[in-house]
């Protein structure tokens, strides 16, 4: 039963067995990664690539300018500024390189799985072909529509659908999950991925991807950031940053002329330093690292986003469509209660229920055995323990299962659908107790599934038949789901449960789980219509899906997360793939999307707020000689004009390094209302950004003032 491959919600579950990247504690990059990233960071100084980041490009131009000035007219001060301006650019590049480096490590792992395999291509394979002709070809040459055969121990050469056979497949190369999964032809579990390994049996696979466009290829491109494009929000933020940069450049350029009025012209080095201090370097340096790290955080959770746009959209989602089974409830129903009818002793009912379920290996059957053991201390009897016992398996025709106990007073026990068991009792001459009907209806109305237990005893006195009672099977809502939906509601996200159940059952479960709405007896068309309706109201919709019939809805949804266990059609249609095939993860994806945007906003606010302190350091340093009253602005009491300007520039560079971990990890996100989030982040990053540089610049000044040669 492949569905059991889905595991319950595991928001902060144990780390995967495979080492996906090199991380220190707390998800921070370890120092080695910084060292490895340094050469890359220096390569990124190339203006042909740096121009894409307007803020840092301006800093680099400034650094070139001060270098020339320092060579022409050397002084400790001008060299200090020059070195720290270059450091600022390198630190910015370092942030990006470190973020990319984490992806590179993952890409290398993936690449190893793509080693040249030889495919066994079948020529002119048709369904049912007995002995098709086999031809070995390099996996890289396989193309759409080719058929290949893969046997135990071999690596699947390319993405495709199984058209013949069933096999257990080790997908750890992609998912990091070591437990094998079952893949079989037909149905929703037919997709296989190139690079995974067949552990048992033999399958024929029809290739569904072109060479170089396989899932692993795309994955490598994604985690390496090769396919990275600026997302809409990143573009908008870049525009704002660019215009702030232009404003501040104007401020500095015109300042020389304004200062000329009071004969207070400044050395060019000082003006460059002022410009760099004012333009939003902090966010400019970290912006692309934030984006890459956001994608990377998804990858850490085994989700592959096909574009950064999808990650951003996840933060904006208004409506979540969640499948009931596996997402909201555990996959299986469990026995919750035994209700005796017609005066039956509870213990007798429990005994009958257990006996009739002993051979029932379904999760429901097992849960009945467990219930009788826990509630009624009935030891689970082994099948062999019972003499003359003959177990009757469940069939779709009888819709009952049970056991026939031989001996004198032969006893037959059946449990199953209410109508079936009641009919069986009547057929055997019994009259079910009156309360059976209401009890059954009550359970159904409450969202549960009633199973009726019946008994016939054939003895000397002929046959007596009766209904002993009803087993209440119910869907078990996963632990913590109610709270999560509560959180989502606070975040302004509406949850809609999708289920094939009838409206009555659906309503009961929806109420228990605390979702906002439900769609009962849902067909793929209903799902599609619901998505379109929500979108028509301007809402963004996220959903998960795995089957081929989910594909249109996945494509229509703004965020469509396909399960890795799903069909290739579903995976094509969605804009994310969850390698763990855990639908609950949708909630985490939304949080990661929000965290990404919050990190951008927080660092932008921080960056702009920083400027206030820098003004108080640099303006008096520049003009206190010509305008003595401006010395009063030196509220930090900085040592000298040169030490003040140096301190501001050093702070400006160091704050980038200090914030790299934050940019990579993302700011802490706790679900809360918009006003609550804003209040918290404003006081932390707005107020913090206002105050911190005053402290930082002062501390740096305390050290810098002792530098020999600095006036």
């Amino acid at each position: 039963m492949p569905r059991t491959a889905r595991r319950p919600g595991r928001p902060h579950g144990p780390k995967k067995t495979t080492d996906r990247s090199h991380r220190g504690p707390g998800g921070l990059p370890d120092p080695a990664l910084f060292r490895h990233a340094l050469p890359g960071a220096c390569r990124k100084l190339d203006p042909r690539t740096l121009y894409r980041n307007p803020v840092m490009f301006v800093v680099e131009v400034g650094a070139v300018l001060t270098t020339a000035l320092a060579i022409e007219d050397p002084s400790v001060f001008s060299w200090l500024i020059t070195v720290w301006l270059w450091a600022t650019v390198v630190f910015a590049n370092l942030a990006e390189a470190v973020a990319e480096g984490r992806g590179k490590a993952q890409a290398d792992t993936l690449r190893r799985t793509r080693t040249a395999t030889t495919a066994r291509r079948l020529v002119d394979w048709r369904p049912g072909s007995r002995r098709p002709e086999e031809r070995p070809v390099p996996a890289a040459e396989l193309t759409l529509g080719d058929h290949v055969v893969v046997e135990a121990g071999q690596t699947i050469p390319g993405d495709g659908d199984i058209v013949e056979g069933i096999a257990s497949v080790d997908e750890s190369a992609i998912t990091g999950e070591s437990a094998p999964v079952i893949r079989e032809s037909g149905g929703d579990r037919s997709a296989v991925t190139g690079g995974t390994r067949v552990l048992s049996d033999r399958i024929v696979v029809r290739i569904t991807s072109r060479p170089g466009e396989t899932f692993i290829d795309r994955m490598i491109a994604l985690v390496e950031g090769a396919a990275r494009q600026k997302t809409p929000n990143e573009i908008a933020l870049n525009i704002l940053l660019a215009s702030l940069t232009i404003v501040f450049l104007l401020v500095v350029v015109t300042l020389q002329s304004l200062a000329g009025y009071g004969r207070a012209q400044q050395p060019l080095v000082v003006l460059v330093a002022l410009a760099v201090a004012l333009i939003p370097t902090t966010i400019g340096a970290l912006l692309s690292a934030i984006g890459i790290a956001g994608m990377d955080r998804l990858v850490q959770r085994n989700v592959l986003a096909m574009s950064g746009r999808a990650v951003e959209a996840a933060g904006d989602v208004d409506t979540l469509l969640l499948d009931k089974t596996g997402t909201i409830t555990l996959g299986n129903r469990e026995a919750a209660e035994l209700i005796p009818v017609g005066g039956t002793e509870p213990l007798a009912l429990a005994d009958a229920a257990q006996l009739s379920s002993l051979a029932d290996e379904t999760p429901e059957g097992r849960s009945i055995v467990v219930l009788t053991k826990e509630r009624h201390q009935l030891r689970a009897r082994a099948e062999g323990e019972l003499a003359h016992a003959e177990f009757v398996p469940f069939t779709a025709q009888t819709r009952m299962s049970g056991v026939d106990l031989g001996g004198e007073d032969a006893r037959q026990l059946r449990k199953g659908a209410a109508t079936a068991v009641i009919e069986w009792v009547r057929d055997n001459g019994g009259q079910p107790a009156d309360e059976v009907g209401p009890v059954v209806d009550g359970i159904a109305a409450g969202g549960g599934t009633p199973l009726v237990v019946g008994e016939t005893i054939t003895g000397g006195a002929g046959t007596t038949a009766r209904v002993l009672g009803v087993i209440h099977l119910k869907d078990v809502v996963k632990e913590g789901m109610r709270e999560r939906f509560e959180e989502l509601r606070r975040m302004g996200i509406r949850t809609v449960m999708i289920t094939g159940d009838n409206p009555k059952t659906a309503r009961a479960i929806a109420r228990e789980a605390g979702v906002d709405d439900f769609l009962a007896e849902a067909t793929p068309e209903d799902k599609m219509a619901l998505i379109k309706r929500e979108q028509a109201g301007g809402k963004l919709v996220a959903m998960t899906g795995d089957g081929t019939n989910d594909a249109p809805a996945l494509a229509q949804a703004d965020v469509g997360v396909a399960m890795n266990t799903g069909t290739s059609a579903a995976k094509e249609a969605g804009n994310m793939v969850d390698l763990d095939s855990n639908p609950t993860k949708l909630i985490e994806i939304v949080e990661i999307g929000k965290q990404l945007l919050i990190t951008r906003g927080a660092l932008t606010t921080f960056s702009i707020a920083n400027d206030v302190a820098k003004y108080f350091a640099i303006i008096p340093a520049m003009f206190a000689v010509a305008y003595p009253s401006l010395a009063k602005l030196n509220i930090m009491g900085l040592h000298s004009p040169e030490s003040a300007i140096t301190s501001a520039i050093v702070f400006n560079a160091l704050i980038i390094v200090a914030l790299i971990p934050l940019a990579l990890r993302g700011v802490r996100y706790r679900p809360a209302s918009a006003a609550g989030l804003l209040g918290r982040n404003l006081s932390l990053y707005g107020l913090g950004g206002l105050v911190l540089p005053f402290v930082g610049i002062k501390l740096i000044d305390l050290i810098v003032q002792f530098l020999p040669g600095l006036r």
Binding site: L240, V247, S257, L258, Y261
Partner: protein, 554 residues
């Protein structure tokens, strides 16, 4: 009654009459901008102009109409001034020189009303009435029209239409400005302002000197000068002249008039977007900035006198009218610099360094608290867009304001908007500093002379029009440079606002959820005030530090 008590009572009176007119005037503006029917006189005007009053324009269409109209206005006014000696009622005034006529034509068509000349010695009655006063109405209506287009951007869904410029312009003039100006002109006449067609009269003063007094249709021009936040005085002394502003009562009425439309527009905004709380939030931001500014300037002027004699006289009376006093002068000065009005009842040059610096800062804020008619509202809404963008990110969603998403396009236009005015002010001031001739026009030396030039460009680029005095701002260089600053300072932002409106109107609105950043709470008000202060503060801090700040700290 002591000066302090009188001052407080004036402020109280002003605030209460403004509060009383907030709803009726705001509702009248909202109705005017949304009405589907036409008045008969409007229909006649549309027929006369050959425009379809029901046509809905795209934003480029709206912009084209607006620019064409503005171009015609400038040319018409230019011709008027150059040819005024041939026109009746010219009371013997010669034609205005070319650079001066350009400057004045642009000045009045852009709602700036910067005046390099003295009205009573340069212009005839007809030029004042049919030239300048007409632009006082139309340039004001144009500002409100642009604000209306931006509001439609927020309220409309999935359309490329933002309204009809000609209908907006006509209705605002006919239904709002003309009736109000008419009523208040009569009120001002009743209060003592003059309204006649006299020429220059020689009179002999008590001390036996002779003085030339120019009469004219002053009250009618005065009403719209204040109401449309124009500010171009009939006389050089502007509202300090007893013919324009005779008493303390007319003084309060004039302050009320220059504030009343900008202050009531948030009500219209709230009505149009269907949420009054949004209007109150914007109004609160405006009032907060205004109140703090009034407090700072008044405190500086009242306590800045230093000497016991100064205190005895009630503070810094230099450059202020004795009959109005320090409090009324400070209140007028703050209101006029925060509204892009630019009318003055005192010499801003003579304010204390702190008070005068605050007046410069008021203008540099971009005229948004409450700003010029229409321009104040669209200005603060653009800043709100920037504030929402940064804050919206911090709540983890693609930022949205009033149901419209703020993406790349929206940020492009908002960014260009906030970039334009600082660029004009800084480049203008810097080039004046760099030009020997321009520097020579400054009356004072040192920081104060510097402030005079910064004030001039701040005033022109922000379409305020008030002058710091002390700067002999006539002459070809200043007339041209300031004329260009006014022209670009008015129309470039309008281009970006209309483009923003078009971009917003095209969107489908996003529903409001608990995850949406609320833009009506005190939190947002504080945020918007912060963004306004920080963006402006950071941009102008170095420029201000070399003049007003250096002067105030010494």
């Amino acid at each position: 009654m002591g000066a302090t008590l009188a001052g407080w009572l004036q402020i109280l009176l002003l605030v209460s009459v403004l509060a009383a007119s907030y709803r009726p005037l705001g509702d009248l503006l909202a109705r005017t901008l949304t009405d589907r029917g036409h008045w008969r006189v409007e229909r006649a005007l549309y027929r006369l102009g050959g425009v379809d009053g029901d046509a809905d324009q795209t934003w480029p269409g709206y912009l084209r109409s607006l620019l064409a109209f503005a171009a015609v206005s400038v040319l018409f006014l230019y011709g008027f001034l150059r040819l005024q000696n041939h026109l009746p009622l010219s009371i013997g005034m010669p034609p205005v020189p070319a650079d001066g006529a350009f400057n004045t034509a642009v000045s009045f068509a852009t709602n700036t009303n910067w005046q390099w000349y003295s009205g009573e010695t340069t212009l005839g009655h007809l030029a004042q009435m049919a030239g300048l006063a007409v632009q006082n109405f139309l340039s004001a209506a144009m500002g409100i029209a642009v604000a209306a287009a931006l509001l439609r951007g927020f309220t409309r869904r999935q359309t490329d239409r933002v309204g009809n410029f000609w209908t907006d312009l006509t209705r605002i003039t006919v239904r709002v400005l003309l009736p109000l100006a008419f009523v208040f002109a009569i009120v001002l006449v009743a209060g003592g302002a003059i309204q006649n067609f006299h020429g220059v009269r020689e009179i002999t003063t008590l001390s036996g000197d002779t003085q030339a007094l120019t009469g004219g249709p002053v009250a009618s021009q005065e009403a719209i000068k204040q109401l449309g936040t124009n500010g171009g005085g009939f006389y050089a002394a502007n509202s300090a002249h007893p013919f324009e502003n005779p008493t303390a009562l007319t003084n309060i009425i004039e302050i009320y008039l220059l504030l009343v439309i900008p202050v009531s527009l948030p009500r219209a905004f709230g009505r149009l977007v269907g949420d009054q709380r949004q209007g109150y939030a914007i109004l609160t931001v405006m009032v907060l900035i205004w109140a703090v500014s009034v407090a700072i300037v008044t405190a500086n002027e009242v306590h800045g006198a230093g000497s016991p004699a100064g205190h005895a006289a009630g503070g810094m009376l230099e450059g202020k009218e004795q009959r109005l006093g320090v409090w009324a002068s400070a209140l007028f000065a703050v209101s006029t610099t925060l509204t892009s009005c630019g009318a003055v009842n005192s010499a801003h040059d003579s304010f204390t360094p702190g008070g005068g610096g605050m007046l410069i800062f008021n203008m540099l804020l971009g005229e948004i608290a409450p700003g010029g008619v229409g321009s104040g509202l669209y200005g603060i809404l653009v800043l709100a867009v920037v504030a929402v963008f940064v804050a919206g990110l911090m709540v983890g969603r693609t930022p949205e304001y009033l149901g419209k998403k703020l993406g790349g396009r929206e940020m492009k236009f908002a960014s260009l908007y906030i970039l334009t005015t600082p660029a004009l002010v800084l480049v203008g001031t810097a080039s004046a500093m760099a030009s020997r001739g321009a520097r020579a026009k400054v009356l004072n030396t040192g920081e104060h002379g510097y402030s005079e030039i910064l004030y001039a460009f701040g005033s022109a680029a922000n379409n305020n029009g008030s002058a710091f005095a002390g700067l002999a701002a006539g002459g070809t260089w200043y007339n041209t440079a300031l004329g260009l600053a006014m022209l670009f300072g008015r129309f470039l932002p309008i281009v970006f606002v209309l483009a923003l409106a078009g971009s917003l109107a095209r969107q489908r609105p996003v529903p409001v959820t608990a995850g949406t950043l609320p833009t009506h709470r005190p939190q947002f008000v504080g945020l918007l005030v912060g963004v306004v202060l920080i963006i402006v503060g950071l941009t102008y801090f170095p420029a201000l530090s070399l003049g007003p700040i250096a002067e105030a700290l010494s």
